[in-house]
Symmetry: C2
Subunit: 191 residues, 2 copies
């Protein structure tokens, strides 16, 4: 049974607000791919827009440019090994969904592969073409058109990291296969 | 005594690789500012380049554009309250360094305010003007020209989050004053 519920678009940027490492998914209708990416950021809440960095050497970049869209899945700590694995080989060498036994569904708006098992959230994004920043900084802008999250860890627009859901805490890649999972929430006190 | 040591420029992007919430500092020589920012990402390792999102309403944006440079400080969990405070009011209302008693030094290359107390790292960046992305996405690109980190938490190019240094673990803003500090490191296992 899926624990995923739709996330209102005005809350979609919060899924990436705290800098989690993500999976970028892509498809051109016949081929598909998934890669890990540490480098992304929201750039706007409304409309929800984000930037992701996709290297020139990647198969993902080919698919994203040819299809004009990309998906984002936000892995939880239970998916650290899978995340590192799909970040370590190229989709040019074969279908990584099959290789690692990753179940995916088709996103509701753009039909992008979305992964729920081991993940805390996913988003579907329409590419906003910006050829100069793509070339100069490998930076791709996108607008989120659909999003969903596991209600055990994200509800009503808010992350709920606590001791009840450690496997769904987002992960933050430090380099070389080392990750810092998000710890339980701390609230700032007014100064 | 400062625990900060210089970080080699080829390792500078790793300071931001895992999506920490940062402080952006700025000065035009007579005025200065510091604001909190959750939205940033590296875009290149060599040369070390990053993107930060700076809203049109901010005093920081004025100073960054007029001076052509900005600083980044990476607060630790001990500085959660300070981070939220400097993210909650505008520098147009007065000098936040004075208001919150923040000690800062002048960075070695660009003379930007750098804060070490409560922080795990800092970087000095030269602005790379990209007027279209600044206007359309509030996204500013910069090249890191100097960096340093507290050797108790970042050494030889690697973060060292563990039980010995919780106050220096980076913080990741979830929204509305709630933060997830980075937890201790987990290493991926090969699949």
């Amino acid at each position: 049974m899926s624990h995923f519920l739709p996330v209102a678009l005005e809350h979609a940027s919060r899924l990436l607000n705290h800098g989690p490492t993500i999976l970028i998914t892509s498809t051109d209708g016949t081929r598909r791919n998934v890669m890990a990416a540490a480098w992304s950021t929201p750039v706007e809440f409304t409309p929800p827009r984000i930037a992701v960095v996709i290297d020139k050497s990647t198969f993902t970049r080919e698919l994203v440019i040819s299809s004009g869209k990309f998906g984002i899945c936000v892995p939880g700590a239970a998916a650290i090994d899978m995340t590192y694995a799909v970040g370590s080989i190229s989709g040019k060498e074969g279908d990584k969904f099959e290789r690692y036994g990753l179940a995916s569904a088709n996103g509701p708006v753009l039909g992008l592969p979305v992964i729920e098992e081991g993940c805390a959230a996913w988003l579907e994004c329409r590419l906003i073409r910006e050829q100069h920043t793509e070339e100069a900084y490998d930076t791709f802008f996108g607008e989120v058109v659909a999003a969903a999250a596991d209600r055990r860890v994200f509800d009503n627009g808010h992350w709920l990291f606590d001791a009840s859901n450690p496997g769904l805490h987002t992960i933050h890649h430090l380099g070389a296969g080392k990750f810092a999972p998000a710890s339980s929430i701390v609230s700032a006190k007014p100064l």
